[in-house]
């Protein structure tokens, strides 16, 4: 345990040094003429995507996010200010896979000429988890949009963002490539840590319940089983039948832990935990980063936070 912690600390120091070096390098590249008004104005639809774009864009890019920290992109209602932001942007980054159902209308309404960049391009979509027999009236398809929950997919996001930025601003090609390379290296380290920590959890304890099935890609990539009392979208209300099925399942499969999320009603999860005696883990973040006071202010911070939560609840 202490060895691992030391390794983590060393790792953190290393990445911090890398980050400093990368920003210094980037600053060197763009220092001449990188005044605020010269920066490339871009939009990211939600906070995690915004973090990716900031990391790749560095100083050359001014990123605005539509759904900010702690917001729920599934049910977001855009404001006129958002339409203005989109109209002023040179590029609009979206997650795609039906994540931002409200975005298409916003883009039309804003009358923007900016190209829309789908950051999940090239990612193999998973079926939505927790699909009910009866179909709800979702305005999107059956793909699970939460692709960033696998670090391998996050690397595809970063590559797509880099290519789009280079296409829009060829002068910054070197800076974008350098930033992306530095960030991809950090993602590799993250992926390595995720696999290492999960390998330490006994296979029969890798089962958790969370209030929002946004972890399909995490499950697929790292072999931790996630079940939820609600469907993949937060729009449908759970019925007594759903809750009873979950409780019966926890009892039968001896699920080890129940987690809360920052966007869905936690009362339901607490009730299930009370009734089954499963351990209540801390908060797992899925759809949104936290604000500056929270403990998931960046994508890497979010994944490391989730990993810590899983490890402390599942390692007996």
């Amino acid at each position: 345990m202490t060895i691992r912690r030391n390794a983590q600390k060393e790792d953190a120091m290393l990445t911090r040094r890398q980050a400093l070096a990368a920003t210094a390098l980037a600053a060197l590249f763009v220092a001449p003429g990188a005044r605020a008004q010269d920066r490339l104005n871009v939009i990211a639809s939600f906070s995690i995507l915004g973090d990716f774009v900031k990391n790749v864009g560095g100083d050359r890019v001014e990123v605005a996010t539509l759904v900010g920290p702690n917001g729920n992109a599934h049910v977001y209602a855009p404001s006129p200010g958002d339409a203005k932001k989109v109209a002023d942007a040179k590029l609009v980054f979206v997650n795609g896979l039906g994540f931002e159902g409200w975005l298409e209308r916003l883009v039309k309404a804003s009358g923007t000429k900016a190209p829309i960049v789908v950051a999940t391009k090239g990612i193999k979509p998973l079926e939505r988890a927790g699909e009910h027999e009866h179909d709800h009236d979702h305005d999107h398809g059956r793909a699970d949009p939460h692709a960033w929950q696998s670090v391998a997919n996050a690397k595809i996001y970063v590559a797509n963002i880099r290519d789009a930025l280079i296409a829009a601003d060829p002068a910054g090609k070197d800076a974008y490539s350098a930033n992306a390379a530095a960030y991809l290296a950090k993602l590799d380290a993250l992926e390595h840590d995720v696999r290492e920590v999960i390998a330490k959890i006994p296979a029969d304890r890798r089962r958790v319940i969370t209030s929002h099935s946004a972890f399909g890609y995490f499950q697929d990539a790292y072999g931790v089983n996630f079940t939820a009392p609600q469907g993949v979208s937060t729009e449908a209300e759970a019925s007594a039948k759903d809750v009873a099925a979950i409780i019966a399942q926890i009892r039968k499969q001896k699920v080890a832990a129940v987690f809360l999320e920052n966007v869905t009603d936690p009362r339901l999860v607490e009730q299930v935990a009370r009734e089954t005696g499963a351990k209540v883990g801390g908060t797992l973040y899925s759809d949104a980063l936290t604000d500056d006071k929270g403990d998931a202010t960046t994508y890497i911070g979010l994944m490391r936070h989730n990993l810590r939560q899983l490890a402390s609840a599942l390692v007996s």
Binding site: S239, A240, V243, A244, E275
Partner: protein, 289 residues
């Protein structure tokens, strides 16, 4: 077999027992309140009041998250202010009760929406709008039960002036000055019940469990006491049956309860003893000398 359908869900699952207890307590308090609202031609007041409460609850939610105390306090404050101002204006000025209420609840709603938009628009208000009867913790359950208890006690105390004022407000004014205070106390009870209803079912459905049973009672009884008993009983039946439907058929619980009440209402509308449509079409023989 019968046991599996009607009893086992509640013996097997604690959350079903909690849901039932919460819904029953709610029906007990909301039944009589609904009947008085209906008799005083204030059936839509519940709906308007729910809008008045919502901003208070939302502001409580904004300030301290999904915190029962903050949301209840916010809802109660917003509701009380609107209820008391409405009562005062209706009794002291030319403005009638409905107009006074309309102005104040719209103002409350506007203030709430303004505060929310100042603080940022990203919060998920859906869970404030619709509480979840399947997720009642001890705190919420106690709150609902306490509200029901207070409601029944206060109603017992103000029952006489309240009934007389429903039937003959002019007479009431000549014999007693208790009409005003009783009316205000009653409005406060309406707020208290809506706030506890919104923790269990959400604001909109909280109004449903109040008004539908009252309308059902109207079709079966002329006497106020009997009407209240029938209203409360149908609220209880709707809660129990609605939870069972949600359990077996997998539909959302809050709406299921209200829909069962709706079915009871439609059958009362058709077959009710007092003014039911079938009754009116085929009246019994008149008494003959």
């Amino acid at each position: 077999m019968l046991n599996d359908i009607f009893i086992a869900p509640f013996t097997e699952f604690e959350f079903m027992r909690r849901a039932l207890a919460g819904a029953l307590a709610l029906a007990l308090g909301a039944g009589p309140i609904g009947v008085f609202l209906m008799l005083r031609r204030m059936s839509l007041v519940g709906d308007a009041m729910a809008h008045a409460i919502l901003p208070g609850a939302a502001v409580g939610f904004l300030l301290s998250g999904l915190n029962l105390f903050a949301m209840t306090a916010g809802g109660l404050i917003a509701g009380f202010v609107v209820a008391v101002l409405t009562g005062l204006v209706a009794r002291t000025t030319e403005l009638k009760e409905d107009a006074a209420l309309a102005t104040f609840y719209l103002l409350s709603l506007a203030v709430g929406v303004t505060i929310i938009s100042l603080k940022g628009t990203n919060i998920d208000l859906l869970h404030v709008l619709f509480g979840n009867v399947l997720a009642l913790d001890d705190q919420t359950l106690l709150l609902i039960a306490a509200n029901a208890t207070i409601t029944l006690i206060v109603l017992a105390l103000i029952y006489r002036p309240l009934v007389i004022e429903c039937v003959d407000p002019g007479f009431m004014r000549t014999v007693s000055s208790a009409g005003g205070p009783a009316h205000l106390a009653f409005l406060v009870l309406v707020v208290v019940n809506l706030v506890s209803g919104f923790h269990a079912l959400g604001t909109l459905l909280a109004v449903g469990i109040m008004m539908l049973p009252a309308a059902i009672g109207r079709f079966w009884a002329r006497d106020t006491t009997l009407m209240i008993l029938i209203a409360t009983a149908s609220g209880v039946v709707a809660s129990y049956a609605g939870l069972l439907v949600s359990f077996h058929l997998g539909v959302a619980s809050g709406p299921a309860i209200i829909l069962i009440a709706g079915v009871l209402y439609l059958s009362s509308l058709l077959f009710g003893r007092v003014g039911g449509l079938v009754r009116q079409a085929f009246p019994g023989r008149h008494l003959e000398a």
